[in-house]
Amino acid sequence: MNYLLHILIMVNIYIILTVSANLIVGLANLLSLGQAAFYGIGAYITAWALMTLGLTLFPALLLSILITASIGFIIGIISLRLKDDYFILATLGFQIIIYTVLYNWISVTRGPYGIPGIPSPKLFGLVEIDGILPFFLLSSILAIAVIVIFRNLIYSPFGRALKAMRDDSIALLSLGRNITKLKTQAFTIASGFSAVSGFLFAAYITYIDPTSFNLDEAIFIISAVMIGGTGNIKGPLIGAAFVVILPEMLRFVGMPDNIAANMRMIIYGLILIVLMMFRRQGLAGDYKF
């Protein structure tokens, strides 16, 4: 039972990551290889807020979202001026820079030693969220909240403008819309919400180190988005569930752990290539990527 709940908590964390990434990758058609950095910043801010500042649940979450979104805003302003490959390179560059900072700024982040013993968040200073069931409930509530917010965004005039920009940015420009502003808004929102995943991860696992937020993780997040499909809410949900549950399935069929780790990556890689060749909308997406 605990095992099942653990898997579901991880699914919830990845749902939030993929639903956020879908806003930039799927709707704005900007391939960002820097999403793990925002996930990581969110986790480190959470650790700081819960341990050092001693904040309760919602203030800590809010602080984590706000700071991550601000950093996302700055990175967005710099990298969104660039096009295509150059934008991707810029996000990749920031991903690596932030990882390097997390890894080497030992006086603040404890670097490779990581931060152990992150305390459980307290709800309004009263109820302590501790143990697997409360975390499952908390992560489910947050995941549902994020899904509702993004559903709302996708089907709002803002989402419509993003879809229009994805189709034809020249036409949208000639209709008087500020393309850079739209992109920056989408980028900032997506990075801010990645912090929710970071919050859950830090508070649930109670230990963080930089390797959870490296380039491989960024690629992993994008893979989840691609596998599920882009443009709607259903796609990222399926993608997140798939990438978290597949390794457990492999274990279930009795594959030894040392082989399973490599096998599941090979399966992700194969799926990515096959999807890009024959089904660019992913398993359940609206748009051909």
Partner: protein
Amino acid sequence: MAETILHIENLSKAFVRSIKTARKKDAIEKISLLNHLDLTVEKGKITALIGGNGSGKTTLFNIINGFLDADQGSIKFINGRIHELLGKKPDTIARLGLGRSFQDNHIFDELSILENMLVAGKETFGETPFVSLFSPGRNRKIEKQKTERAKTIIENIFGSGNYFWQHKAEKAKNLSHGQRRILGLLRIFMADFKLVLLDEPTTGVNPEFFQSITDILNRMVNENKMSVFLIEHNMGFVKQVAHNCHFIHDGCIRASGTPAEVIDNPLVRNTYLGF
């Protein structure tokens, strides 16, 4: 004397590129596209711009609406106040009230017909993120107003029970070329522009749509008080719809007047029409 809405003075544009030739290493090749061009577009009229391929027509449009920079000159857009357009960005220029259509339509393929109209709407309230979350009532009201406006625009032109409104939920990529052209023009009504640049509105369109396009242009000017500046190759169409006409050749205006005058001008006949 009619009022002016667009006044272009001494506009020049050249593309410069360095080329490597066998003899000289870094020679510079200068291709002059616009050459001290002067031009005026009258308010509330349809003005046509004619000229051969490569004479600088589309370049001129791209400079007016900000897609390209010019080397020198000035473009004054008079809409209540006088705005200098050179140096402004395309979206800023569009928000001042200057819109355009494209030769290749530039329709939002994955959006429905109705969404194509709504995206063009002048009111951008709901396009700020989270507004629909925190202010759902106002957002819904504005969306409803926009939808009503789209309906009115379409029904004014095609009557009730027309194709576009019946298929409003259909994705725009399923439309024919002519229908896309018309959707591109309908979109302009939504945005409430004061001056629109139309790049070859009839080119590549099935003649069955000519009447609709003529009708739309007349409505733009007569009912919506827009001014229209269009590029066109179809002289019959120009004679039919335009009030004024300019002939561009080698990057500057060589003849101006009514369409009949310009088309009868010997220079235009020799260099462009060829009869």
